[in-house]
Symmetry: C2
Subunit: 417 residues, 2 copies
Amino acid sequence: MTQLTRQDCERLDQDDALAAVRQEFDLPENTIYLNGNSLGAMPKKALDQARQTVINEWGQDLIKSWNLHDWFSLPQRLGDQLAPLIGADAGEVVVTDSTGINLFKVLSAALMSQQQAHPQRKKIVMEGSNFPTDNYTAQGLIKLLGDQHEIVFAEGEEIVEVIDDSVAVVCLTQVHYKTGRILDMQAITEKTHACGALSIWDLCHSAGAMPVELNACRVDFAVGCTYKYLNGGPGSPAFIFTAKRHQGKALQPLTGWWGHAAPFAFERDYTPADNISQMLSGTQPIVSLAMTAVGLDISVRADMQLVRQKSQQLGDLFIRLLAERCGDCQFRVVSPLDAAQRGSQVAIAHEHGYAIMQAMIARGVIGDFRAPDILRVGFSALYVSYTDVYDAVDILRDIMDNDIWQQPEYNRRHAVT
Amino acid sequence: MTQLTRQDCERLDQDDALAAVRQEFDLPENTIYLNGNSLGAMPKKALDQARQTVINEWGQDLIKSWNLHDWFSLPQRLGDQLAPLIGADAGEVVVTDSTGINLFKVLSAALMSQQQAHPQRKKIVMEGSNFPTDNYTAQGLIKLLGDQHEIVFAEGEEIVEVIDDSVAVVCLTQVHYKTGRILDMQAITEKTHACGALSIWDLCHSAGAMPVELNACRVDFAVGCTYKYLNGGPGSPAFIFTAKRHQGKALQPLTGWWGHAAPFAFERDYTPADNISQMLSGTQPIVSLAMTAVGLDISVRADMQLVRQKSQQLGDLFIRLLAERCGDCQFRVVSPLDAAQRGSQVAIAHEHGYAIMQAMIARGVIGDFRAPDILRVGFSALYVSYTDVYDAVDILRDIMDNDIWQQPEYNRRHAVT
């Protein structure tokens, strides 16, 4: 097999059905942005949306905007916009709060439901190596509930084995934040239900990166963020999915006025809305919330099958170029080599991973580092090109050839990595 | 006593030490905005801040902004900026999440502390007529904890009477959202502590409107919003105060990675930060969060004693003009007549309150209506002038004279009022 050339990659870009989507984003010059798995790029229309919300709505219409611009229903309207991307129906998703807060809501709702159905069940199955905020959330809830529950930690393929009829809830992230490994949502959810447990999926690394089929898999609850592959802006509000069959029954405990059956009746006592609105709590940050519409709009117009296909090809291309051009550099691919089992990112390990990533960032190739030795590069198919991948590996080769990563400035640790 | 004239009000404006602050806000033309108690006006620099965060930070520096622009410490930096406005010290306040979510955190923290100190105490004192989301939050938490706790509802002056040594927590809003009545923070907190209970204050209608002395009153916890008198923008993130003596001890249960002692160690298990950061949960909406700095900056530069004094005078002026010019119209002042007992708003009742307020809004005088019959007008001293108040009453007189409020279009109810 002959080695791939830059011309080969240019040809792939010419044939790329998604190539035009890149024009909807404003990417900085001299930058190859391979970190959309952490913070998505800025759509060109983002500032227009901010200007609209700040100047025309807040500034001009002030309090009247709650009616005139229907700020109050933004969580539901954005949820309906997002729903098809994750295999949900209208009325099953709201955009609100943060992923962790939302996980607290659905985990509480699931545990309280199980308290009725199977009061003796106290186990929650989670993955120990998951992005830790999910585990922290469960630990905080368990402590609040008086330490009656227990987390059963399992990893990867072990997970399906530990699900049995002593389990109340199975709470997993579909795509692993570090390795990009995909869990089998369908098989795990089937086993979960066969054992009488409820399923919660965290879609932070899958929503917008690949087709997700929540209802086809009969998932009970899901959460996820909008600032990675959905390009909603830094820390943009997260989402909650609750399957129709649980609405009005499985209730969440962060009971603010936005989740009340009649929020503007200002009644003293809480009456839950009998629909997805019950998953809301308090007043939302309208500027950040409204901006998520811009990124969502781009994703909704893209064909998620094509997005998935291209991201797999970008990942395969990176892995192949790494082998061809940096085969002597002691990199080890940590992500699954089979694209079908891999999300939209590739993790590689190297003893000097931190310094190498700093050197890459200094050269304009933006990925990130996760301790102890992992370099992550994400391939957001909406704006990353095949030549981006070629050029990134080219720069990596140069860094390794010239020992640039040994320079002291690349070995100083930042507070945030 | 002769009736006040517009010239009198013009003279008051000329002598107003805060008059220049109005220039820092962009107010719509032909509008008298008397609803800063619900949504503060837009500072002129708001869009600049949005542009900076969206274009220069998100767009250009992308993921590097977490370090370069220190997004991660925004909740603490904004909290330190806000602290002097509420009588708190640096390191005691963070800006994050919504008021309701934050109330859930501190109420949980307080109840869990009391579970150690006084395990038999299960009562929470609240005000039944409070803005209901506070009550809903307590009700949601109580249900989650298995209905072991009980809310003792009291009103106004009764409150101090129901605090005894069976009470775990006293959770009140300092300024009543509807009537503007101020509760005596010092006396109630003293009684609370004398009885061995913990105090939580909601400052939604006081922060930025008057000097608040949390530490001088030995308050334990507080929450509040930044989008009313602090002009942070629609739904801008709220704040939490935790007195130094409780930090590292009274822990909140929405345990996300931002509250971890070492967030970037990505450890599997939660270890709480031993400072105010433990009150954080997950990733924040950075655009909305960063924008709060603009409004805070204006308030921090203003003298809160002057702000308070002017807002009292504006309220007194409104009440006097209403008596002088609309004395025959059956309005009833619901707020305390004594300015010392009244926050920065005046509530008046009228049988046809809804239609009258709609007619006022149609004429550019923006206040709001609260069922069953209350018209609220807020006097944000940073940008409301004495002539604004004169002109507002002038328009109200005209509406009443011409029965404009009887027209059918003012009697149609909006979903959001």
